[in-house]
């Protein structure tokens, strides 16, 4: 264990406060009866009421959930294949190119990804008549493409830690490669796939820029609706929405880390 001085602790706590104060303030403001941020008008749930009466926001949220779930699932399938091919298949023609393409979206500005995919969809529609206009489908394809990098990296690093000898052992005992993958590789990968899916879901659910390019009229995702609202200034029902989202995510993250931490402590003991 590394030992550090008091200076580091003070800096770290200051940094963490910097991370959390804005979020906490936003949560407090969501219960503020006043529309003005500088005036405390008393505790109220009225913004939550407004939020749940706002069909546009709720519709967009539901669309975002659907898009994120489908694209995360697609991402996990593609990312697992790519990660497996890159770690376990050894050299093949075009491997370097594939490795480059897989990780490139990590350093690709979102505006470029969005623009280039839109231009592709327009050209494809021109040539083969598909996809017809922009729709949730085009958002799903775009999100799966840019999230694939993250899942591939997660799968790759998990596979690299994992002993390839286990898959050989399965084959040695008579399992065909596909069977060995299902019996041995997949169970070992499961935690990585779950976190990959969650990451892809979050990235998709959060994405404003790419979705703005490739979504069609009538398929506005939640970030797009929020963006058009907050561009005009503070909007208290967005505070309420943020509070609900952060509360949900925070609960999930802390339950997860608590369980992992407990397991780690049991192992130590």
């Amino acid at each position: 264990m590394l030992r550090t001085g008091r200076f580091v602790s003070i800096m770290a706590v200051a940094g963490l406060l910097f991370l959390y104060i804005p979020i906490l303030l936003m949560m407090v403001l969501s219960f503020n009866a006043s529309r003005l941020v500088s005036v405390w008008g008393g505790f109220s749930l009225k913004w939550y009421g407004e939020l749940f009466a706002n069909d546009q926001l709720l519709g967009a949220a539901w669309l975002s959930v659907k898009v994120a779930a489908v694209s995360a699932t697609l991402t996990v399938v593609l990312g697992t294949l790519a990660g497996y091919v890159l770690t376990r298949f050894g050299p093949f023609r075009g491997r370097a190119m594939m490795a480059g393409m897989v990780t490139a979206p990590l350093v690709m500005p979102e505006v470029i990804t969005g623009l280039s995919l839109l231009l592709l969809f327009v050209a494809m529609e021109d040539f083969i008549g598909w996809p017809q206009g922009r729709s949730p489908t085009t958002i799903i394809i775009a999100h799966a493409t840019f999230c694939m990098a993250y899942v591939t990296i997660i799968v790759q690093s998990r596979l690299a830690q994992m002993d390839g000898v286990l898959e050989e052992a399965a084959q040695d005992l008579g399992a065909r490669p596909w069977r060995a993958f299902v019996d041995v590789t997949l169970p070992m990968l499961a935690p990585a796939l779950v976190s990959g899916w969650l990451l892809a879901f979050t990235l998709s659910f959060d994405d404003l820029v790419i979705a703005s390019f490739v979504s069609g009229p009538g398929s506005s995702t939640l970030p797009m609706v929020i963006f058009s609202k907050v561009r005009l200034g503070v909007s208290p029902d967005v505070n309420a929405l943020a509070t609900l989202l952060i509360g949900f995510v925070g609960a999930c993250v802390f339950i997860y880390s608590w369980r992992v931490g407990r397991r780690a402590r049991q192992r130590d003991a």
Binding site: D163, A169, Q171, D172, L173, R179
Partner: protein, 379 residues
């Protein structure tokens, strides 16, 4: 095999008339520019316990992986029980492997690990249960069937790995450093257990190891590998007493090596003049060489005797001074500085607790050995 081995006075074990169970024909494996295994020919008989001995990078593991089907040879072919294995994938070979790391599936219980191969083979459920139970009993792991691998000790894991590899009743079992992960004490116990199980089942075993003691203990026959080549094949005794070259002599056991000039060569004996040893060396076997030729001689440390007084012999005796003594309990290792300047090793058993025949640093001694002790190396 090369002619070097045919010059050995003792024949190799295993009936030469029986058709070999495993036949390795001219196997070469290249990884890019590196030749990991270089034109190996080897026959292994049914029910043999064959050890492949070699240092790291000698190609022994690559050879094993080719037998298992994880690597395809660049040249040559492998026949198992008369069947050509070329292009047969690992999962279709009648071969199972015990991995060095054991490779137990961490997400499966002990019995599921052992049952895995039978399930892939489509064995009926009831039979699987019975065979798994029998096999676990044989390796004394019956009480641990429901444990997970991480709940087992190293020795227990090793038994499970063995059970898993044996339960399919493979024609050939490959063991990659089977005892490497165990501590010294456990290793010795397990060696004999492994031999017992092999004798009981009659399965052909090929063991890869870098540990010469392990190979000597386990093997009915062994092969020494170096730089991708098979240097020598034979019984443990053949390899120890009649090493094919200086590498084998040094790799298996400790040895004192000398260069000598051949001065007499008869069918029953030979004489060498040896400057380094400071005496004429007489060996009790013939050498196929020409007089005046330089030959390599090997004398094992335990075959040299030490005495305070000069023994009554003219040959195979040379004076020196004790330079260093290491007391190992059952025996003592002496470093003797010969008067020629050469340092040699001598080991003597500590037969009794009296101090009568103890040699101390600085003592003048005579090193001597019999004609059957030194051996001329073919290379």
């Amino acid at each position: 095999m090369s002619s070097a081995i045919e010059t050995q006075p003792v024949g190799t074990a295993g009936g030469a008339d029986a058709a070999p169970f495993v036949r390795i024909e001219g196997i070469t494996k290249r990884f890019g520019a590196i030749v990991a295994v270089n034109r190996i020919d080897l026959d292994i008989q049914r029910s043999e316990l064959f050890c492949l001995l070699g240092g790291s990078g000698s190609g022994k593991s690559t050879l094993l992986r080719m037998l298992a089907g994880f690597e395809q040879p660049s040249e040559g072919r492998i026949l198992i029980d008369g069947q050509d294995m070329t292009g047969v994938p690992a999962y279709e070979r009648p071969v199972n492997m015990m991995f060095q790391s054991y490779a137990l599936f961490p997400h499966m219980s002990v019995s599921d690990n052992v049952a895995y191969g039978l399930r892939r083979g489509g064995v009926p459920r009831a039979e699987i249960r019975k065979r798994v139970a029998d096999m676990l009993d044989m390796v004394k792991m019956g009480d641990y069937a429901q444990r997970r691998p991480h709940q087992l000790s190293g020795g227990q894991r090793q038994r499970v790995a063995l059970a898993r590899a044996l339960v399919k009743q493979p024609k050939l079992l490959l063991l990659d450093e089977p005892l490497g992960a165990l501590d010294k004490k456990l290793r010795e116990e397990t060696q004999f257990e492994l031999m017992k199980i092999q004798a009981q089942l009659g399965t052909t075993f090929i063991v890869v190891t870098h540990d010469q003691d392990e190979a000597m203990t386990l093997a009915s026959r062994m092969g020494v590998m170096r730089d991708g080549r098979l240097v020598q094949v034979g019984g443990p005794r053949d390899l120890y007493e009649f090493p094919a070259d200086r590498y084998v002599a040094q790799f298996i056991g400790a040895v004192n090596l000398f260069d000598g000039v051949l001065i007499e060569d008869e069918p029953g004996h030979a004489r060498m003049r040896c400057e380094e040893a400071g005496c004429v060396i007489h060996v009790g076997h013939g050498v196929t060489g020409t007089l005046g030729q330089t030959v390599h001689l090997a004398i094992r440390p335990e075959k040299i005797n030490l005495a305070h007084d000069r023994p009554a012999q003219d040959e195979n005796v040379t004076p020196g001074t004790i330079d260093e003594v290491a007391y190992l309990g059952n025996l003592s290792v002496y470093q003797v500085r010969l008067d020629t300047g050469r340092l040699i090793h001598v080991t003597l058993p500590n037969l009794d607790r009296h101090e009568g025949n103890v040699f101390e640093i600085g003592n003048r001694v005579y090193c001597s050995w019999g004609p059957a002790s030194a051996v001329v190396l073919p290379a």
